[in-house]
Amino acid sequence: MSTIAAEVNDHAHDDHGPAKGIKRWLFATNHKDIGTMYLIFSFAMFLVGGLMALVIRTELFQPGLQFVHPEFFNQMTTMHALIMVFGAVMPAFVGLANWMIPMMVGAPDMALPRMNNWSFWILPVAFGILISTLWMDGGAPASGWTMYPPLVLQTGDAFPFLIFSVHLMGISSIMGAINIIVTIMNMRAPSMSLLRMPIFVWTWLITAYLLIAVMPVLAGAVTMLLTDQFFGTSFFLAAGGGDPVMFQHIFWFFGHPEVYIMILPAFGVVSEIIPTFARKPLFGRDSMIYAASCIAFLSFIVWAHHMFTVGMPLSGQLFFMFATMLIAVPTGVKVFNWVATMWKGAMTFETPMLFALAFVFLFTIGGFSGLMLAITPADIQYHDSYFVVAHFHYVLVPGSVFAIMAGVYYWLPKWTGYMYNESLGKLHFWLSTIFVNLTFFPMHFLGLAGMPRRIPDYSTQFADFNMIASVGAFGFGLSQLILIYVLLTAKKGVPATDAVWDNPEGLEWTVPSPAPFHTFDTPPEVLPPLKQEQHA
């Protein structure tokens, strides 16, 4: 009886389309709608965080204090980081996951659609609270996104709001991660074995496990900050017998896997795009999966490389140095596999491929500077310098952000049903690539010359490179106006075919363009053969 009832309900489910007006978005349970909301939200946060970066670069255009107070400068660096990490990069990948994972595994939707709605709608609340702290007594948090005590405990009225918003972001991420794992493990089409899954799905599966393992650690750390501030505990207060360095250990036990949370889905996106435009199967497909798993495992045992200068036994320094260097091995496997995929391929250079290529090249630069920072004696020199700022921006901007842009250009015709403006896409790519390097490459030199990070003023010998970096930052910011225009006119191009590109691989290309509101209500029985099988 219950089976019959379920079938009746399902027929009703098949018939209805999206709700009308604001209700469609407020009560959304459709993975495509929620994916769209995630992507729009993350882009809005990217612009807000970007404006904060421009405040920073305006102040640093010349030596001396000219535009903002040092206190406000520190608020800008802190808010820029929190917004970009938790508001822009992470939600963008969750948006891509929401849109693509159900279609890639042949599922009708995410496994827990109502929780999916919660995961999203918690985010605007969290960031509304965080951004509102700019207008509170004492201003916004200014201790850096790492929230180290005792400095963070000097935050004004914003402190409990910071803690609450971080908790909300964590809850949202954990719910999103649970949804993704449950969808992948339980909702795959019958013949979609784990090793057959697209690499983007694999990297997201690994990322979701990372999220569940480390977001509660961040929640625990900030809960203890809260009790230290308001409930008389001394977890991190030296005066009460606590240990401020313990916070750093706990934070980076979260913080380092967090870096991989922001890069593994990027690896997945690039691994989808390069084979399509090289017209070859992904080289070393299985090794890509094992490499991503290795990176995830190693991410748990390298955290103290962020803290070499706080002091630790020599054996600890050696362990964390070698463990960190070890990550270069699986990462190298990935980079070589991408290059080998392109080797002798019939390559074309549409916008997604350009962004993916820039990712491979520029992310590797960030990887190499990371390797330099892993060397303990060298890190003691580089620590808290602009070299570190250059390193992680290379990993995150032409790394994660470029991968997101590549993914958006790649899947946009499937979402809208129309081809975007390719010329403008290419213009957006070239300007972004030129300016991103103009912004961040000089920071290597600044760091090596000794300029510390998180300062609003600096010695005059750093003036030239800072001026170049500021010009680059404004150029990069203005280049994103092209992306806004491309997105606003995304439905004005020529209609896209179902496959969109030249024989791409995956179930998502078998559904019409634009993808209908409901896809794979009935799981696909026969999957298209993998390109590897076609070549064999």
Partner: protein, 44 residues
Amino acid sequence: MSVDVSQDDGREDRKVGVRRTALVLAGVALMVYAAFIIASVLRS
């Protein structure tokens, strides 16, 4: 209220699987949260 197995397309099983996996993962997240706080309490 017995389920007619001949017409069952696996959706009921999948529902149980979804719930079970979600609860296990949520439990793991809560345990990690508690473990770190308990460890910090014991250490301080």
